[in-house]
C-alpha cells in the first residue's frame, strides 16, 4: 500500500497555471526531501495534496483512499511554512499541541490523562517540555516552530509533511531537528515529506529527493540523483556535488 498517490494533479491560481498533470507515489516509510527554487510551487503542491487549496483536476489518495473519502486525518501531521495567527492569541504551548488531538478524538473541555501524556511526550520529543505553560506569544521563532512540530507529532502520525520547518532554527538545533525526524522515520516508519532548501544537510537523512520547479524535474533516491548524467547537465556538476557530497 502506498502512503500517498498523486494522479494528474493540476492547480491554477486566479487563472494562472501553477502546475499541470503531476504524478507521483510516496511509499510508506519514505523520507523525501522536496526541493526547488523559490516560487516553484512546492508549498502549493503540498497544500493541494492536503486539500487546503482547490485542485483544477486530479486525484490524491492517502493509503489508497481518495482524499474525499479519507477521514483518518490523525494519520497525517502537517507543519506549514507560516501561520496566520494573531500575535495576541491566548494559548499556552500545551493548549496548542493538544489542538492536534482533535483529529483523533473528541476532546472534552478538560484534557484526559492519556491525552495529556501524549501532549507531554510530543513536547519532550521536541525538547520543549520546560516551556509547556508558557504563552505562545512569548516564544522565540525557533521555540514556536518546535511547538507546531510537536502539534503535528501528537497524534503519532504515519505521514509527516513539513514545509521549511527549520528556517527559524539555529544550526545546532537544526541538526538536532533533522536527527529527530530521522529517528521518527527509522524507528516508527513514519513517512516524511520535508520541503527544504537545505538539500546538502538533509541528504544525510532522507532517502529520496524530489526536485520540483512547476513540474517534477527529478524524483528518486539520492544515489540515483548523484549518478544521473541528466541531473549533472541540469544542475551543473558543482551544484550536483554540493547536494551529493554529504550523502
Amino acid at each position: 500500500m502506498s502512503a500517498i498517490k498523486v494522479l494528474d494533479l493540476s492547480v491554477k491560481f486566479e487563472g494562472f497555471e501553477i502546475f499541470r498533470d503531476i504524478n507521483f507515489t510516496v511509499e510508506e516509510g519514505d523520507y523525501i526531501a522536496l526541493s526547488g527554487p523559490n516560487g516553484s510551487g512546492k508549498s502549493t503542491l503540498v497544500k493541494a495534496m492536503l486539500g487546503l487549496i482547490e485542485r483544477e483536476s486530479g486525484n490524491i489518495y492517502f493509503f489508497d483512499k481518495p482524499i474525499k473519502d479519507f477521514d483518518e486525518w490523525y494519520k497525517i501531521g502537517y507543519v506549514p511554512q507560516k501561520l496566520s495567527i494573531s500575535p495576541l492569541f491566548p494559548a499556552s504551548v500545551e493548549e496548542v499541541v493538544s489542538m492536534g488531538l482533535l483529529s483523533k478524538s473528541k476532546l472534552s473541555l478538560r484534557l484526559k490523562s492519556y491525552d495529556k501524556k501524549k501532549v507531554l511526550d510530543a513536547l519532550e520529543m521536541m525538547g520543549i517540555l520546560d516551556i509547556r505553560n508558557k504563552n505562545i506569544s512569548k516564544l522565540s521563532g525557533g521555540q514556536f516552530q518546535r511547538v507546531i512540530v510537536s502539534r503535528a507529532l501528537v497524534t503519532e502520525p504515519e505521514i509527516l509533511i513539513l514545509d521549511e520547518p527549520t528556517t527559524a532554527l539555529d544550526p545546532e538545533t537544526r541538526e538536532k531537528f533533522f536527527e529527530i525526524l530521522s529517528s521518527i522515520n527509522k524507528e516508527r516508519h513514519v513517512t516524511i515529506i520535508l520541503i527544504t532548501h537545505d538539500t546538502g544537510t538533509v541528504g544525510k537523512y532522507a532517502n529520496k529527493l524530489m526536485y520540483f520547479d512547476r513540474k517534477i524535474i527529478f524524483y528518486g533516491t539520492f544515489d540515483d540523483f548523484c549518478k544521473s548524467e541528466s541531473m549533472s547537465h541540469y544542475f551543473g556538476y558543482g551544484s550536483q556535488h554540493i547536494i551529493c557530497h554529504r550523502h
Binding site: L52, Y78, L83, P90, L102, I148
Partner: protein, 272 residues
C-alpha cells in the same frame, strides 16, 4: 444611592439581568471575532438590520421577522465574500454594511418615512428593558453558550489557524458558518434590547482587554466575561448616581479597563 437600594427598582433589576447575560454572551463571542480580525462585524450587521427593518416596515410585517433571517443571510454573505474574493474581513463587512444602510435609506425615502421609528430598532435602551426582553436575553445567551461549549475545541482550533484545523479533519467551513450565524443572531436580537452601541462594545472591548493578560483561551473567555459584568454593574450604579446615560457609561468603563490592561502589559506587569 448604593447598589442594594438600586436593586429595589424593577427596571434596574431587569437592566442588570439582561445586561449581564448579553455582556457574557457578546464577550465570549468577541474573543473569536477579535482574533479572526472580524471585530467590526457587530456594527456591520447592525446596518444590515437597519436595512432589513425598513424592508419589514414597507412590507407591513413585524420588522424582526424580516430582520432575523436577512441578517443571518447577510452574515453568511460576509463569510462568502471573504472566502470567494480573498478580501480581509473588514472589507467584506464594509461591503455588506454599506449595502444595508443604503437599502434602509432608499426604502425609507421611497416610503416617505414610517410611523414607527426605524432607529428604535438600532438603539435599544438598557434601562427600558421589558420582562419579555429579559427572558429573551437569558434564552439567547444560554442557547448560544451551549452551542459554543459543544464546538469549543473546533472553534478555538479554527480561530488559531484554519489550515491546521482542516488537516486535523475539522470541517472549518461548517464551524465558520456556525460562528457567523451565532453572531448574527446575537447582534440582531441583542441590539433591540440594549442597543447597538453596547452590543458592539461588548463584542470588542472586554476581549481586547482580556487578551492583554490571558495565558490561555479559557482564561481569556473568563476574564472578558468578568470585565464585561463589572462594566454593566458599575455602569448602572455610576450612571444612576451621576445622572448620566447608562449605555455610554458602560462603554467608557470598558474602555478604561482596556487602557488599564494595555498599560499593565506594556509595563510588564503581566506574567508569562
Amino acid at each position: 444611592m448604593n447598589f442594594f437600594e438600586l436593586l429595589s427598582f424593577g427596571f434596574v433589576q431587569r437592566a442588570i439581568v439582561a445586561g449581564c447575560f448579553i455582556a457574557i454572551l457578546c464577550s465570549v463571542l468577541g474573543n473569536f471575532l477579535v482574533l479572526r480580525k472580524l471585530s467590526l462585524i457587530g456594527d456591520g450587521l447592525a446596518h444590515i438590520t437597519f436595512g432589513s427593518v425598513a424592508v419589514g416596515l414597507i412590507l407591513k410585517v413585524y420588522p424582526m421577522y424580516v430582520a432575523i433571517p436577512l441578517t443571518l443571510i447577510c452574515g453568511y454573505g460576509i463569510l462568502l465574500i471573504i472566502d470567494k474574493t480573498k478580501l480581509y474581513g473588514d472589507a467584506a463587512i464594509g461591503i455588506v454594511s454599506s449595502a444595508g444602510v443604503s437599502l434602509g435609506i432608499l426604502i425609507s425615502s421611497i416610503a416617505g418615512g414610517f410611523n414607527v421609528d426605524l432607529f428604535s430598532y438600532l438603539f435599544g435602551n438598557i434601562l427600558a428593558v421589558s420582562y419579555e426582553e429579559v427572558l429573551l436575553s437569558i434564552l439567547l445567551s444560554i442557547t448560544v453558550i451551549i452551542i459554543i461549549i459543544c464546538f469549543y475545541h473546533q472553534l478555538v482550533s479554527t480561530t488559531f489557524d484554519e489550515d491546521l484545523a482542516k488537516v486535523s479533519g475539522i470541517k472549518t467551513k461548517r464551524i465558520n458558518v456556525i460562528l457567523i450565524l451565532l453572531i448574527s443572531l446575537t447582534v440582531v436580537l441583542s441590539m433591540r434590547i440594549v442597543g447597538i452601541m453596547l452590543v458592539s462594545s461588548f463584542l470588542i472591548l472586554p476581549s481586547v482587554s482580556s487578551l492583554q493578560f490571558a495565558r490561555s483561551f479559557k482564561e481569556a473567555l473568563f476574564l472578558s466575561c468578568l470585565f464585561s459584568l463589572f462594566s454593566v454593574i458599575a455602569g448602572i450604579i455610576i450612571s444612576f448616581n451621576l445622572n448620566l446615560p447608562t449605555g455610554a457609561v458602560i462603554v467608557l468603563i470598558n474602555l478604561c479597563i482596556f487602557l488599564f490592561s494595555f498599560l499593565l502589559r506594556k509595563l510588564n506587569f503581566v506574567g508569562s
